[in-house]
């Protein structure tokens, strides 16, 4: 078991091809966070603490619709539920690091560096610092991008004419369509649409998000088959 500067550097370098995409994504989040009413500091603070593009986008959308703490927390839990799987998959390897090393690596865990780490480990990487190295390589452009985007928003006179008020919804649509991988994904989608249409009549948008997420998760839970 080892956790060295060399491993950290290997992770940092391995993640560089993804870093530019993260920067552009960060700029987009900065723009839409400002459009949803967050200040520059609030946007950057959120990127530094929540550090999850899809979860931040959904939460900001909720805040703009007047979401409170309860709805925001449930939204984050549903969007980041996949991290439970990521962390579980890393256990056999990252479990060899010290508790502090492991949990600080997990703080910086993202979709991109998780995939990289799993691949690297399968290809023989044994240094657990690879995980945090690749995490840092994604975290820094995410913060920088958020700052750039929220600053750039000041220079745009009429965001609505540029369609920027739609950026949030467009992003969620793209991410949602990207998540549909197989035919069996359409049933949770259908359940979520029904739940959203019904709840939208009675409650604020933030609870519509929660209801749709739970409807999708519950439908998938019920229809999935346990291997015999």
């Amino acid at each position: 078991m080892n956790f060295t500067a060399a491993g950290l550097k290997r992770g940092y370098i391995a993640a560089q091809p993804l870093a530019l995409g993260v920067l552009v994504y960060g700029v987009t989040f900065g723009l839409l966070a400002r459009n949803a009413g967050l200040s520059i500091i609030e946007a950057v603070l959120m990127s530094a603490t929540v550090y999850s593009g899809s979860a931040q986008t959904a939460t900001v959308s909720g805040i703009a619709a007047g979401a409170g703490i309860g709805a925001s927390v449930v939204t984050i839990l549903m969007l980041n539920a996949r991290y439970l799987l990521y962390g579980a998959a890393l256990r056999p390897w990252l479990g060899q690091a010290s508790t502090l090393q492991a949990y600080s690596s997990l703080y910086l865990l993202g979709d991109g560096n998780w995939v990289l780490s799993i691949k690297a480990h399968a290809a023989g990487e044994s240094d657990t610092a690879f995980v945090v190295g690749s995490g840092v390589a994604m975290f820094l452009p995410w913060l920088g991008g958020t700052l750039l985007g929220s600053l750039a928003n000041e220079w745009i006179a009429d965001p609505k004419l540029l369609g920027l008020d739609f950026l949030l919804v467009a992003f969620c649509t793209a991410m949602g369509v990207g998540l549909i991988k197989a035919r069996h994904d359409w049933l949770p989608v259908g359940a979520a649409v029904v739940a959203a249409v019904i709840v939208d009549r009675f409650a604020s948008s933030s609870w519509t998000i929660v209801a749709a997420g739970l409807a999708g998760a519950f439908t998938a839970f019920v229809r999935a088959k346990e291997p015999a």
């Binding site: 969007l79 997990l106 920027l164 949770p188 209801a211 999935a224």
Partner: protein, 101 residues
């Protein structure tokens, strides 16, 4: 330029929630196994959330927003790049709003 004090408890709460997800699976693996049902539910939750964001926008919008949703969805289907698809959706909305003027 400032931080609203009423937003701080919310930010703290979502920070904790995000970390619970990151650390939770790693921690729980000391005790339990992820079953196929749990796995399916964890994967479907984000999809449901995205639907929950789209549906109110579609219900409240009109032609520019509907075409924007369609553009974002179609471009995503063909390019598999969410950034490109989102910008296509935004461009469509901007274009239609100019046309509708």
């Amino acid at each position: 330029m400032t931080v609203r004090f009423d937003l701080l408890p919310l930010l703290l709460a979502v920070t904790l929630a995000a970390f619970v997800c990151r650390a939770g699976g790693f921690w729980l693996m000391r005790f339990v196994n992820v079953t196929a049902r749990v796995d399916a539910a964890l994967k479907a939750a984000p999809l449901g959330v995205m639907v929950g964001i789209m549906v109110p926008a579609a219900l409240r919008g009109s032609t520019p927003e509907w075409l924007g949703l369609l553009a974002a969805g179609l471009v995503m289907r063909f390019t598999h790049k969410d950034l490109v698809a989102a910008l296509a959706g935004v461009a469509m909305v901007a274009l239609m709003r100019v046309v509708a003027r």
